[in-house]
C-alpha cells in the first residue's frame, strides 16, 4: 500500500527530476552526441559574461544570507517573547502573508514600489537620491533590492519555523537561565541561539540553494526596465540565454553543473560546521 502511495511521486521524480539531471550531465560533456571532455566548461568559463554573473550572484548571496539569518533569528526571538497570545499569533500570520504570493507576482508588486514615479513610498526613494526607475535598478543597487524582495517574500515562513524551534527548548532550561539571572539578551545569546543551531544551518542551506538559482527577480526586472538590468545578470539567466538565445544546450548544461558543484560544496561546509546531522 505504501508503495502505491509513493509510486506517483517516485515516477514524477524520475521523469522530471532524476532523468533530466542525468541528461544534463550527459549534455555537459558532449557536443552533438560526441564526448568532448571539458570543452563545454572551457567555453562557458571563458565567456565574458560568466565572471560578472558569478560576482553578481556571490554578492547577492553574501548580503542576503547574512541579512536573512540575522533578522529572521532576531524577529523569531522577539515574536517568541511576546506574551500576549493573540498578538503573537497575529504577528506570525502577518509575517507569513507575503510568502504566500508566487515569486513572479511579488516581483511585479515590487516593480511599482521601486519606480519613484508611481511608488507609494516614493518619498523614501527620493530621500535616497533615486529619482527614476533606471537609477533605482542600477546594477550596484541590485543585491540590496533582491535581498529586500527575497526577505519580504521568504522571511515570514522561516520566522514561523524558528518560532517552532524556540518552542522546542524545554521550559526547565529557560527557567534555569532565568533563576541564574540571565536577561532576555543573555538567554537568547547563550541558550536559545546555540540550541537553534541546526535550524539556523538548515535555513542557511535552503536559502543558499534558492539563492544560487536567482532567476525570476532579475529576469522580470530586466524586462520591465527594458534591459537596464542586464539579461545576463545571474548564472541561471546565463544558462537560459545559452540554451534559448544561442541554441547551445551543452553550454547551458555545463553552467548548471558548475552551479550545482558550487552549491553542493557550500552546503557541505554548512552541514559540517552547523552539525546538522549530529545526534545529541
Amino acid at each position: 500500500m505504501g508503495y502505491a502511495f509513493s509510486s506517483g511521486y517516485t515516477l514524477l521524480l524520475l521523469l522530471f527530476g532524476v532523468f533530466p539531471a542525468a541528461y544534463a550531465l550527459f549534455l555537459a560533456f558532449t557536443k552533438a552526441g560526441q564526448f568532448v571532455g571539458v570543452d563545454n566548461f572551457a567555453r562557458v568559463l571563458s565567456d565574458y559574461r560568466f565572471l560578472p554573473a558569478v560576482q553578481n550572484v556571490a554578492t547577492y548571496l553574501v548580503v542576503w544570507l547574512i541579512v536573512q539569518t540575522v533578522l529572521v533569528v532576531v524577529l523569531a526571538l522577539i515574536v517568541h517573547s511576546i506574551g500576549v497570545r493573540w498578538l503573537s499569533s497575529t504577528v506570525r500570520f502577518v509575517y507569513y502573508i507575503p510568502g504566500a504570493l508566487a515569486g513572479a507576482s511579488s516581483v511585479m508588486l515590487w516593480l511599482f514600489l521601486l519606480d519613484p514615479t508611481v511608488s507609494p513610498v516614493s518619498g523614501v526613494l527620493r530621500v535616497l537620491g533615486l529619482e527614476t526607475f533606471v537609477q533605482t535598478v542600477s546594477v550596484q543597487n541590485l543585491p540590496i533590492i533582491f535581498t529586500i524582495i527575497a526577505f519580504w517574500t521568504g522571511a515570514g515562513g522561516w520566522i514561523v519555523i524558528m518560532y517552532g524551534a524556540l518552542n522546542n527548548i524545554s521550559v526547565e532550561v529557560m527557567e534555569a537561565a532565568r533563576v541564574d539571572g540571565a536577561g532576555m539578551v543573555k538567554t537568547a545569546w547563550h541558550i536559545q541561539i546555540p540550541m537553534m543551531r541546526k535550524w539556523i544551518t538548515y535555513m542557511a542551506i535552503m536559502n543558499l540553494a534558492a539563492g544560487t538559482q536567482l532567476f525570476v527577480e532579475p529576469r522580470i526586472l530586466s524586462q520591465a526596465s527594458k534591459g537596464v538590468v542586464p539579461p545576463d545578470y545571474s548564472l541561471n539567466q546565463l544558462a537560459y540565454l545559452y540554451a534559448f538565445r544561442q541554441g547551445d544546450f551543452n553550454g547551458s548544461a555545463a553552467i548548471s553543473l558548475l552551479l550545482l558543484v558550487v552549491a553542493l560544496g557550500l552546503a557541505a561546509f554548512f552541514v559540517l560546521r552547523g552539525g546538522l546531522f549530529e545526534r545529541d
Binding site: 515569486g103 508611481v118 537596464v228 539579461p231 548548471s256
Partner: protein, 468 residues
C-alpha cells in the same frame, strides 16, 4: 522597443517570464534538461526528411495539399488572419496568438529552437514584430534545416516580390536570398507641432544642423520645451545614429563592426550631448507615465518613426494631441550629406521551410501583405507599395495631420540608410544596460561610447561573429 509596429506595450513579463515565475526558481538545469528530455523522447530524427527541390532552393517536406496551416500572429495581426479564414474557407487554418516576439522576449526563437531539437511541430507561418529574426531563422540550428524558407528562389513569384517598397526586404535578405516578407515599414520622419512652431516663430528644421541650432534657440527662449528623448533604447540608436548614417552597428557577411570615431558617429554623439546639456533632449521614456504629464504640450519637434502617429499622438492613453497640430516633415539629414533616415522596427512574416502545405502558405502570405483587407486592417505603413499608397491616401484624407503627410512618409520610406546591420543581437540591449544607466548617473554620451562599443563587440563575439 514596444509599439515597434504600432502594437501594444509590453512592460509586463512575457509568456515565458510567467512560466518561469510559476516554476519559481526551479533551476535552469531542470528546465533545460526536461525540455531536452521531452525532445529526446519524442525525436527520432532531427531535421526534416524532405528531398531537395531545386525549383524552390530548399529541401521541402512531403506535401499534403489539404493539411491545415498553423499561423502564429500577435494580437494586432489576428484580424487579418481571421479575415483570411473568412475569405478562404477552402484552406484550413489554425490561428495561434502569441506575444509577437515583442520587447526582446525572444519567444519566437525559443520555441523554434525547441521544435528544431524535437524535429517536428513547427508552425507554417510566423509573424514577428522584430526585424532581425532572419539572422538566426536563416541558419541551421542543432542540425535542423533553417526555419525560414527562401522565398525568391522559385517559391514566390518575382513579380510579387518586386512590389515591395525599395529596401523593405533588405533586413530579411542574406546573400541575395530573401527569407521573410516585411509587413510594415517604420521609417523615421520629423514630427513637429505646427502651432508651437508658429507661436515661437521657428521654421521646421531640415537638417541635423538646423535641429541643433534650433535647440539652442529653444533652450534660451523657451526653456522647458523639448525636441526629443534618448531615454529609450530605440531612440538614440535607430532614430539618431541610424538617421545620421553613423556606422556604429554594421554587419558585413559574418563580420561585425562598430565605429564611433567615424565623422558621422562623432557628430551625432556631440549633438546628443549638446542637446542633453541644454535640456532640449530628455531621458524619459516616451511610453512612461511621466512623459505624458511632463511633455504633452511641450514637444516642439521630435524625430521619430511613422508609428509614433498611432502610438503617441493619436493615442488617447498617450499624448493625445488634438487634430490639426501635428505634421510629419522630411527626415533630418546632415547638410550636404546623403538624404537618409533611420528605421524603428517593422514586422516580418516568415514561411516555414518545414511546411507540408507550401501552396496554402503562399496564398496566405500574399493575402496578408497585399490584399485590400490587409490595407484596411493595417495599423502602420504597409511595406507593399500598392498597399502603402492606399493606406497613405486614407490617412491624408482623415485631416488629422498638417502639411503633406503622405509625401514626407513616402520620402522617408524610400530613404532608409542601408548601412545599418541586422545581426542576431540587438543594439538596444547594450544601449539599455550601458548608456541608459550611465546617462542617468550624469555621464555624457561621449564618456560612454567606448564601453558601449565594447559591450556590442562582446555580444557579437558570443553570437559567433568576427569582430573587426
Amino acid at each position: 522597443m514596444d509599439h515597434r509596429d504600432g502594437g501594444e506595450s509590453t512592460t509586463t513579463p512575457t509568456e515565458e517570464g510567467i512560466l518561469m515565475g510559476t516554476q519559481h526558481r526551479r533551476s535552469a538545469l531542470l528546465l533545460t534538461a526536461s525540455v531536452a528530455t521531452i525532445a529526446a523522447l519524442t525525436a527520432c530524427s532531427g531535421g526534416s526528411s524532405g528531398t531537395v527541390d531545386d525549383s524552390f532552393g530548399f529541401a521541402i517536406a512531403e506535401q499534403e495539399p489539404d493539411s491545415p496551416i498553423t499561423v502564429w500572429v500577435d494580437a494586432s495581426r489576428e484580424p487579418i488572419a481571421q479575415a483570411f479564414e473568412e475569405d478562404h474557407p477552402d484552406i484550413p487554418i489554425e490561428i495561434e496568438t502569441y506575444d509577437g516576439n515583442a520587447g526582446g522576449s525572444d519567444s519566437f526563437r525559443t520555441k523554434i529552437a525547441l521544435f528544431d531539437q524535437s524535429g517536428e511541430g513547427w508552425p507554417d507561418v510566423v509573424f514577428s514584430t522584430q526585424t532581425n529574426d532572419t539572422s538566426w531563422a536563416a541558419q541551421e540550428l542543432n542540425g535542423a534545416q533553417p526555419f525560414a524558407a527562401p522565398l525568391n528562389k522559385g517559391y514566390f513569384d518575382q513579380e510579387f516580390l518586386d512590389g515591395f517598397t525599395t529596401g523593405a526586404l533588405d533586413p530579411m535578405t542574406v546573400d541575395g536570398t530573401v527569407y521573410g516578407l516585411r509587413n510594415d515599414l517604420a521609417p523615421v520622419v520629423l514630427w513637429y507641432d505646427e502651432s508651437l512652431l508658429n507661436e515661437f516663430g521657428y521654421e521646421v528644421p531640415e537638417t541635423w544642423e538646423d535641429y541643433l541650432a534650433l535647440s539652442d534657440r529653444l533652450a534660451a527662449e523657451h526653456p522647458g520645451y523639448i525636441l526629443g528623448t534618448v531615454g529609450e533604447a530605440f531612440t538614440a540608436t535607430y532614430i539618431n545614429y541610424w538617421g545620421a548614417a553613423a556606422p556604429i552597428f554594421q554587419l558585413d557577411g559574418n563580420t561585425f563592426s562598430s565605429d564611433f570615431s567615424d565623422e558621422n558617429s562623432q557628430r551625432m554623439t556631440e549633438l546628443i550631448d549638446h542637446m542633453l546639456d541644454n535640456g532640449t533632449l530628455v531621458q524619459d521614456s516616451v511610453f512612461g507615465a511621466e512623459f505624458v504629464t511632463k511633455y504633452a504640450d511641450k514637444i516642439v519637434a521630435m524625430p521619430g518613426p511613422v508609428w509614433f502617429s498611432g502610438a503617441l499622438f493619436q493615442n488617447p492613453d498617450s499624448l493625445n494631441t488634438a487634430a490639426g497640430r501635428i505634421g510629419a516633415a522630411n527626415p533630418l539629414h546632415w547638410e550636404g550629406g546623403e538624404e537618409v533616415t533611420g528605421n524603428v522596427g517593422g514586422g516580418v512574416w516568415y514561411a516555414s521551410s518545414h511546411s507540408k502545405n507550401l501552396d496554402a502558405v503562399e496564398t496566405f502570405l500574399e493575402y496578408a501583405i497585399s490584399s485590400d483587407r490587409a490595407v484596411e486592417l493595417a495599423s502602420g505603413l504597409p511595406a507593399y507599395d500598392s498597399a502603402a499608397d492606399q493606406w497613405l491616401a486614407t490617412q491624408s484624407e482623415s485631416g488629422y495631420y498638417v502639411g503633406d503627410f503622405a509625401e514626407s512618409v513616402s520620402t522617408a520610406a524610400s530613404s532608409v540608410w542601408s548601412g545599418w546591420g541586422f545581426p542576431s543581437f540587438s543594439i538596444e540591449v547594450s544601449y539599455a544596460n550601458v548608456v541608459v544607466p550611465g546617462l542617468a548617473a550624469g555621464k555624457s554620451l561621449a564618456d560612454l561610447t567606448a564601453e558601449w562599443q565594447e559591450e556590442m563587440e562582446n555580444q557579437a563575439q558570443v553570437q559567433g561573429y568576427t569582430v573587426e
